[in-house]
């Protein structure tokens, strides 16, 4: 039933996208309203979690705040609409939210058939494995014959089958309906390994009685590029969201941080000058002010800062940069230059 509704909704969304495409005015709308409406997660460790006072924190949340900072010079002028996985695309389609930043995997069908555009990847995720340390396994390739706990009916299960077949290994799948039950079963010793998206592995590991007894294996067996999306057709708005992420990456690459951004405006490096708006009119070209990137870094920080604060060493999750390191450091995060 739920699936049927979702299918109908997505079909309708696709058919309505033609009308939505004509609107080129998201930026004007946002400016007129005085705040950005951001479709967010209803609760995902590291990406969108309410703190004790109910303020949202997380990697996705900070991207929303960065967009608000670029437009309004005020990262608090954003309203979060927490969306379930089913509502998220219709909420974007119907104009209920201006941008969807809700750990959504960028796939071809979503990009081409739902009337929305992905503007980048703010987190490269992928399916990984967690095992007990005492199993003595250091690579997923050594999991031949293992029993693996996974969630039923998800792409996780399919990826698992593909991986083991491709590597000519035997395995036994122990599937459960809910994510919590799956982990409880692994924790109770029902299976040797537990598999889900890597970011989820780190978050669930914290729930174990003694997290140090478990390790996350280095192999990533699927591609889950998570990124923000906007309505198809409003290219200017898409540019703003895309370049907000790029500005944070460029800032990291150039060593511009929240703390030093004001001194950096006096720096002679032409790349920094262009990024922070003292040279050229790059901000005006996308409908913002020229100090747009300065505002982002000043209020929210560069990519490294929000990564470490929310999911990295500054958080309980302690996720390594890995694929999310800058291209200069062997990762996949690469931003085109501002020029």
């Amino acid at each position: 039933m739920k699936r049927m509704i979702a299918t109908i909704a997505i079909g309708l969304a696709a058919s309505l996208s033609a009308t939505a495409a004509s609107a080129q005015a998201t930026l004007n709308n946002v400016k007129q309203k005085g705040f950005l409406t951001c479709g967010s997660n209803t609760g995902l460790a590291g990406f969108g979690v309410p703190d004790a006072q109910g303020n949202w924190t997380g990697l996705d949340v900070d991207l929303c705040r960065a967009i608000a900072a670029a437009i309004f010079n005020d990262p608090t002028k954003v309203r979060f609409i927490p969306l379930s996985a089913k509502d998220r695309f219709t909420a974007l389609q119907s104009g209920e939210v201006d941008v969807l930043v809700r750990n959504t995997t960028w796939t071809m069908s979503r990009d081409t058939q739902l009337g929305l555009d992905f503007t980048g990847v703010n987190y490269y995720d992928g399916q990984g494995f967690m095992v007990r340390k005492k199993l003595g396994v250091s690579s997923a390739k050594e999991l031949n014959g293992a029993s693996v706990c996974t969630q039923q009916g998800t792409t996780t299960e399919l990826n698992l089958a593909d991986y083991f077949r491709a590597n000519n290994m035997k395995y036994e799948v122990v599937a459960f309906v809910g994510a919590d039950e799956t982990f409880d079963a692994y924790n109770a010793g029902r299976c040797d390994a537990f598999t889900t998206d890597a970011s989820g592995l780190y978050a669930t590991r914290l729930k174990a009685a003694s997290p140090e007894e478990h390790i996350v294996l280095p192999e990533i067996i699927s591609k889950e590029p998570l990124g923000p999306s906007v309505r198809h057709g409003d290219n200017q708005w898409g540019d703003i969201v895309r370049w907000t992420h790029y500005a944070m990456l460029n800032a990291e690459e150039l060593g511009v941080t929240k703390a030093n951004v004001d001194q950096m405006t006096k720096n002679d490096n032409p790349e920094i000058k262009r990024l922070l708006g003292s040279e050229g009119k790059f901000g005006e070209a996308i409908g913002l002010t020229n100090d747009w990137a300065l505002r982002i870094v000043k209020h929210v920080g560069n990519y490294a800062e929000i990564f470490e604060k929310n999911v990295g060493s500054g958080s309980q999750l302690k996720i390594q940069r890995g694929q999310n390191a800058l291209w200069t450091k062997g990762g996949l995060q690469y931003a085109p230059p501002v020029r």
Partner: protein
């Protein structure tokens, strides 16, 4: 001689106290014998029940109280490896997130408005429920007319009163649970009565409309109504036109509850003997006078258990709004239990235990109140 005539005689001046009945027919032992071990079947059932209590209760008590962690500032307090002992419920987590569970993301500086709303609601409820309260008629006016307007202005804000505007997307937790169920209850009873009368009306259009409305709403699960409201409705509206996300399930819940209420009230109406209607008509009362003064007071009295049952069901059904992304109490617990700063093995169980206690206290209170009212109203006609 004197001594001889003075035979010892004894006439008892006072009555002898009755000897106490044997221990086996009186006192706790007898009570136990009579109520718990009166026959082989009862004895076996009692033993099974005692065994179940023995199995179930100690672990629950141990989890909720003995092993529970009461203070702490982050996950280290609630993890067995860092705390150094077995850990049951992590009340420190509830305590740390309590503001979020009560107010959701309602701005901290404006939370006095929510507190005032709770106070106004409590005054209204007490005024309505306390049968000996002064000026109860005014209580009804307050609860059904004044209070909703006050609550709306207070919670959403108004420029005129210089209360800043708080969008419903920031509301959450117990506030939302109470708002959804109050709106459901306030609308369900009047609408339900009107629909029940409509269904028994002699005017065909009114009757058919009521029947279709009631049967349609009762034929659809609440969850479908909520999905329609939150996932489908935005697609049918022109772009840019949006109905508030909280208002949509509010309307759905109110419509839903009123259809069920209509059937409960109709049951009461059917139980009123025909003579009551005929008597009222012979006094020259018109339709409304007959219903308001003669029929409804009797009918509603009969169906108090049914009405309260519907309210209790409605109160618990409000948790379904969590599925469409409304942050009621359950949703706030779900959102905060993933917080990495509070990740510990028992956090999930603690969160749900807290929710269970909250719902139990409210539902049990409603049910006790309804029993008390029934007793009082039925005092004159014990059968």
């Amino acid at each position: 001689m004197n001594a001889a005539t003075e035979t010892l005689r004894f006439v008892r001046a006072q009555e002898v106290d009755a000897a106490p009945p044997p221990n086996l027919v009186r006192g706790p032992l007898a009570w136990i014998r009579e109520n718990l071990f009166s026959g082989p079947v009862n004895t076996i059932l009692t033993l099974i029940a005692l065994y179940l209590i023995y199995i179930l209760f100690p672990p629950i008590i141990r989890f909720l109280f003995i092993d529970a962690v009461w203070t702490g500032s982050n996950r280290d307090a609630c993890r067995p490896d860092t705390a150094g002992h077995a850990v049951g419920a992590c009340w420190a987590y509830i305590w740390s997130k309590l503001n979020y569970f009560i107010y959701g993301s309602y701005p901290a500086a404006e939370r006095w408005r929510v507190n005032l709303f709770f106070l106004l609601l409590a005054v209204g409820v007490a005024w309505m429920l306390w049968l000996d309260a002064p000026k109860r008629a005014w209580g009804a006016v307050y609860f059904f007319a004044v209070f909703p307007i006050l609550a709306f202005v207070l919670l959403t804000g108004s420029d005129w009163l210089r209360l800043s505007h708080v969008p419903t997307s920031l509301w959450g937790g117990i506030l939302v649970t109470i708002v959804v169920s109050t709106v459901g209850i306030v609308f369900a009873l009047p609408l339900g009565i009107v629909l029940a009368l409509g269904r028994r009306s002699k005017l065909p259009i009114i009757r058919i409309f009521s029947v279709i409305f009631i049967e349609f709403v009762r034929g659809v699960p609440l969850i479908t109504v909520l999905f329609m409201a939150n996932t489908m409705l935005p697609l049918f509206l022109p772009e840019g036109v949006t109905v508030d996300r909280l208002l949509r399930p509010l309307v759905g819940v109110a419509i839903f509850a009123s259809a069920y209420m209509a059937e409960v009230v109709r049951g009461g109406l059917q139980a009123i003997p025909k003579g009551q209607y005929e008597g009222a008509m012979s006094l020259g009362l018109n339709y409304w006078q007959m219903n308001v003064f003669i029929v409804l007071p009797q009918a509603l009295k009969i169906v108090i258990p049914g009405i309260v049952n519907t309210f209790i069901g409605l109160f618990k059904d409000t948790t379904l709004v969590a599925i469409v992304g409304i942050f009621d109490l359950i949703r706030t617990i779900e959102a905060s239990r993933v917080d990495p700063n509070w990740s510990a093995p028992t956090i999930n169980a603690t969160g749900y235990a807290f929710a269970a206690m909250f719902y139990f206290v409210f539902c049990w209170g409603m049910s006790r109140y309804s029993i008390a009212v029934e007793r009082r109203l039925a005092a004159g006609q014990h059968r």
